[in-house]
Point group: C2
Chain length 230, copies 2
């Protein structure tokens, strides 16, 4: 089943944008009167009938609506984008498939990537949401410094993936169900000492993801998977 | 720390192959007398000194050896390779990073990919083993039909990722620690009815990986991660 995305349905928008319209009309060759499935990315699925099969602005009328309950655990992942952007895009795809509510992108003292264009990342996330048949589009935050992020973020439980060999705590044993959890993953060059100190002072708890040395994007994906298991 | 791979150290081979030798001599510019770290992929790390910095056949002498205990759970994942080979290569990289003992590649009734060259996959696995600092190289099996695989495989616990809405069991609740576990993931077109029946007759248990519809490679990666958590 193909799923289309129109975030503005709750605000009254009853047509698809350019790209989705082209897909409906040119690729799937659907006509006026044909039925489509939609999501607003805000927790609702819709069954709709096409009223005008325009390949730039495909209009529809809503026949029925189904609301989906949000996941009981709020899953927030903060990660420094990788030097190789493919790896970050891959992470976003997998995180959305597994289920994630918010992804924040971080700029650290040891970050190799200092700019991030969010538009490609947003497209990946939309594609993964539709492909995996979900009704929630995660919030994606613009790149921000680790310092500012630590100061401003609000959440019930905050974890920093930073291995402390003397006091090792596994993330899987520390996550708390039915609450908001945030896991912060550092850049390929790891967090700086200053950043770790700031995080601890702000109430973050140091956690390990296991015995193996994981790449940034693998650590992020494992953390998202764990947040889906609590 | 850079890790080099020579699987034949236990059989007495005391030099690196072509590619690894070139890396040591041409890229890292190491000389006779310099120290390197090695693994045989069979559970041992070695510290060695270079005795001849030859860029085609770099010879070394072993100074010390450290044996690593195998993971208490044997993690066996069987998966049908994806149409897009990048996705399968990506899966192998992530599975090895997270930790996997054996990967079997399956050809199913609904497989779109009917051939698989193992050499690129093996390279990905070696790269991931070295990058994540591990001493075990997983066994990688040539493509085989699901029918033959089901008949021949030996393991303590066998699971097939196939959602049965009337009788849903989560893989995370079914895996057994300190035993050999096998999870079988179907092709993008899913298992055929015949394949599911054969698997059940052979003692496989139907399991779900969660609420979301996951891509083949994401399902494989999630299953490997779960086997590492028990």
């Amino acid at each position: 089943m193909h799923l289309f995305y129109q975030p503005d349905i709750p605000a009254g928008t009853l047509h698809l944008d350019d790209e989705e319209s082209r897909h409906v009309v040119k690729v799937m060759r659907l006509k006026s009167g044909d039925s489509i499935q939609l999501t607003d990315g805000k927790g609702s699925f819709y069954t709709a009938n096409i009223t005008e099969a325009n390949h730039k602005k495909c209009a529809f009328e809503i026949i029925s609506k189904e609301e989906v309950k949000p996941h009981s655990t709020f899953r927030h992942l903060a990660i420094a984008p990788t030097k190789n952007l493919d790896r970050t895009e891959w992470f976003v795809e997998k995180a959305v498939e597994l289920g994630v509510d918010r992804i924040s992108f971080l700029l650290g003292d040891h970050s190799e990537r200092k700019v991030l264009k969010l538009d490609r990342i947003v497209k990946k996330a939309i594609g993964a949401m539709k492909q995996s048949g979900q009704a929630f589009m995660p919030q994606l935050d613009e790149l921000t410094s680790i310092k500012n992020f630590i100061k401003q973020v609000q959440t019930d439980y905050k974890f920093i993936a930073y291995v402390d060999f003397e006091n090792e705590a596994l993330l899987k044993d520390k996550l708390v169900g039915s609450a908001s959890n945030l896991v912060m993953i550092g850049p390929e060059g790891d967090f700086s000492e200053r950043e770790v100190e700031m995080a601890l002072a702000a109430g973050f708890v140091k956690v390990s993801l296991g015995a193996n040395r994981l790449r940034t994007e693998t650590a992020g994906m494992a953390a998202v998977h764990l947040m889906n298991l609590v």
